[in-house]
Every structure is written in C-alpha cells, then in structure tokens.
C-alpha cells in the first residue's frame, strides 16, 4: 500500500501531510483574506457568490461549512438560513478558526458555531445537514475519498454538497498565462504581502495536484452521491461541483 502522498510537488509520508498543511495555514491565517483578494484580483468573491447562489439554502436550513477558514461563506449562509436555521463553521486549523471568529464578530454574527474538526472524521451525526460546503479546502485534505464519504454521511437525503475548488483550465492560451501567473507572480505576492513565499508556492503546486473536474465528479459519485454536476468558473481556473444525496 502506498504510504506517501503529495504535498504540492513533493512526496511526503501520509501521516506528515496534515502537519505540513497546518504549517502553511498557521503561517498565512492573518493575511488570508488580503492574499485572496490580491491573488484573484477580487474574483474569489464572485466565485463564492455563485456558490451561495447555487446552494438552494433557505430559511431554517442546517449548513456545515468545512474548511470554512475566515468565514466568508458562513456569513453569507447565515443570512440565508435566518434565525431559525443553523450554520456551523469547521476547520482543522485553529489559527484559521480564530480568524473566522474575529471576522464573524466584526460582521455582528454571534450565532454561528465553530468546530475544529478534520474533514475525514466529522464529529456530527448522520443525516444532519441540508447543505455541506467546502471552498478551497478539499485539495489540502489527505484522504479525499474518506472526506467525501463523511460529507455524504452527515447530509440529509436531498441535501447538497458544494465543492468550490481550483481545477483544470480548459483553454490552452489561458492555461499558459495562468501557469506563468501562478508560479512566478503569486509566490512573489506571498513574499511581499505575507512575508511567506513558500506557502504560496505550495498553493500553486497543490492546485496542479488536485483532481480535475471529471475525476472529482467520479470521486463524488463513488462516495455515494446520486447526482453530481460541475460548473467551470473563469475558464476552469475554479470549478463548482454540486452533488446531491439521494
């Protein structure tokens, strides 16, 4: 059995990846939102808005946002579920959760629950949530198949899984420009804005190691979801997979 996995372009022992990813996010947590705005030139807000729009979440729903980080999706979900619903923001990384807690308080939101949890072993009962989301988090999970099965387990029948993640660019010209930008510009932005070039080099590499649209769709169906469709955003730089538990 293969006991190594990828951490960016490096092969590392499976049990070490989680700690290495933790190191990355401990390092970038304080500048995470700023860097997202800089790197994507604000476009990540459009991708997230589209995700919320696709969610079908309505008043009274129970929502779990995995790898919720600084809480930008949780804030939008909270508005949709109202006081009769519930949003839980989970993240494996304590530093990111602390940033999320501060961010939600700054938005006047005090009724979102924070849970430090590994996506591979979610501490929730079966059939609990109407919607589970994970935005820019799945590629950092060591055992993605197990995490997808867990997401399926905690969703109610008819519940929706939303996976917003970097994906495979379709257009060759755009791909060349994007590669140039990812490997040459983004790490420099990381150095300039967050004093951390290595973490953003990892970001660029981890995107290339993440499954493409069709592969992720197959993995989602294999995890037990009855239906899964994806929508490419910005030429496939990002894709939103929407899976339904039947």
């Amino acid at each position: 059995m293969d006991k190594t996995t990828h951490f960016g372009y490096k092969q590392v022992d499976v049990e070490k990846k989680q700690g290495l990813v933790k190191g990355v996010f401990d390092s970038v947590a304080g500048k995470y939102d700023l860097m997202n705005d800089v790197m994507s030139m604000g476009t990540h807000r459009l991708w997230k808005n589209y995700t919320i729009s696709s969610s079908n979440v309505s008043e009274g729903d129970q929502v779990l946002d995995i790898a919720g980080g600084t809480g930008d999706l949780a804030i939008k979900f909270r508005k949709k579920v109202g006081e009769s619903g519930k949003v839980i923001l989970s993240d494996i990384n304590g530093s990111m959760l602390n940033e999320g807690r501060k961010n939600l308080l700054n938005h006047g939101i005090i009724d979102v629950d924070f849970v430090q949890a590994n996506a591979e072993s979610l501490p929730f009962e079966d059939n609990t949530f109407d919607c589970v989301s994970i935005a820019f988090g799945l590629r950092n999970v060591t055992n993605k198949d197990i995490a997808l099965q867990q997401m399926h387990r905690v969703l109610k029948k008819g519940g929706t899984l939303l996976i917003l993640e970097f994906s495979k660019v379709e257009n060759e010209m755009l791909k060349k420009i994007y590669d140039l930008y990812s490997f040459n510009v983004i790490p420099k932005f990381g150095e300039f804005f967050a004093s951390d070039e290595d973490s953003y080099q990892y970001l660029a590499e981890s995107i290339r190691k993440h499954p493409d649209q069709e592969t992720l769709k197959s993995m989602t169906l294999d995890a037990g979801f009855g239906f899964c469709e994806y929508h490419n955003l910005t030429g496939g730089i990002v894709a939103l997979h929407k899976a339904i538990k039947t």
Binding site: N56, E59, G159, E229, T246
Partner: protein
C-alpha cells in the same frame, strides 16, 4: 445559468408559499423541448427541486416531450389538459406527476421568454441598462449602499446574468 435560474425560482416559490410537493417527492422528471434541443431533468427530493442536466444513466419516472411554444405556455398558465388535447405535449409516465410539475411552472411566474433570450445572450445590454438605473436609485438613497450596490450588481452581471432583481421581483 438557465437551469440555476429555474431551480432558484421554483424553490423560492415553494418556500415562500409553503407549497406541498409531496406527490413529486423522489421523482425524476425529464423534460425535452424538441425544437430547441433543450433537455432538463427535475429531481424532487425532500421538498426541494433540483434542475440537472445529467442523470448518471438513471431513468426518469416521467418523460415529457413538447415544443417551444408549449413549453412557454406552461409558464403562462395554459391549461395542462388543453396542451395534452392539442397534442403539443407528449407524456410517458404518471400524468399526475407531470401535471404537478406543470402547475409549479405556472405558479412560479418565471419570465421564461426572458430566460430563453438570456440563454442566447441578447439581453445582456438590456440588463446592464437596468443595473445602472438601479445603482442610480441606490445612490440617491444612501451613499454607502452605492458601493455595495455596485459590487453586488456587477457580481450578478458577471457571473450569473440570469439571476437579477427584476427576475426575483417576478418570482415573488
């Protein structure tokens, strides 16, 4: 975007009006508009409707085939029985299930002609004009909301042109 707009409008209407769709629960209804080659699947689960393109080889419980005019008529409230009698619509499976879905279309007040025209992109300029008008209105009321309005409206326009306030107004 076309599917998302229909899905959002139907679910919004079901939620706001507390419509019971139990008879549709666990159904997969296929709808094919033959003259514009538009195929949609309506999956009904847990009082929600999902509009999907690909069924992963699962068979639909009900197949509806109709032409564009009949499709538009469904959203304008034309009697379902009349459409069946006029042979503009062909149904394989439970007619009651098909009828309940058709009833939802009629209730939803979706401007389907607008959506179809958006499908071809010819309404973008029209929407941009409306967006600018709304931003002007917002700025007149509140200077702070001008920036928020600008961000929200251009977000909508860039990523989901069919999801707009004029559409929501019609759906509510």
């Amino acid at each position: 975007m076309f599917r998302l707009a229909i899905e959002k409008a139907l679910n919004h209407m079901i939620n706001v009006n507390s419509i019971n769709i139990d008879r549709l629960d666990n159904s997969l209804v296929s709808l094919y508009v033959d003259d514009i080659d538009l195929k949609l699947f309506f999956l009904c689960l847990n009082s929600r409707i999902f509009v999907i393109e690909n069924t992963e080889n699962k068979d639909a419980n009900v197949d509806i085939t109709l032409n564009k005019n009949a499709f538009l008529s469904l959203f304008k409230g034309t009697s379902f029985e009349d459409l069946i009698e006029s042979e503009d619509i062909e149904i394989n499976g439970s007619i009651k299930t098909a009828q309940q879905l058709a009833d939802l279309f009629a209730l939803s007040s979706i401007d389907i002609e607008e959506l179809i025209s958006q499908y071809t992109g010819d309404v973008i300029a029209h929407q941009l004009g409306r967006t600018i008008d709304r931003i002007k209105d917002a700025s007149a009321q509140d200077k702070d909301s001008f920036i928020e309005g600008l961000k929200n409206e251009f977000t909508t326009l860039l990523i989901a042109p069919s999801r707009s306030k004029f559409f929501k107004k019609r759906a509510s």
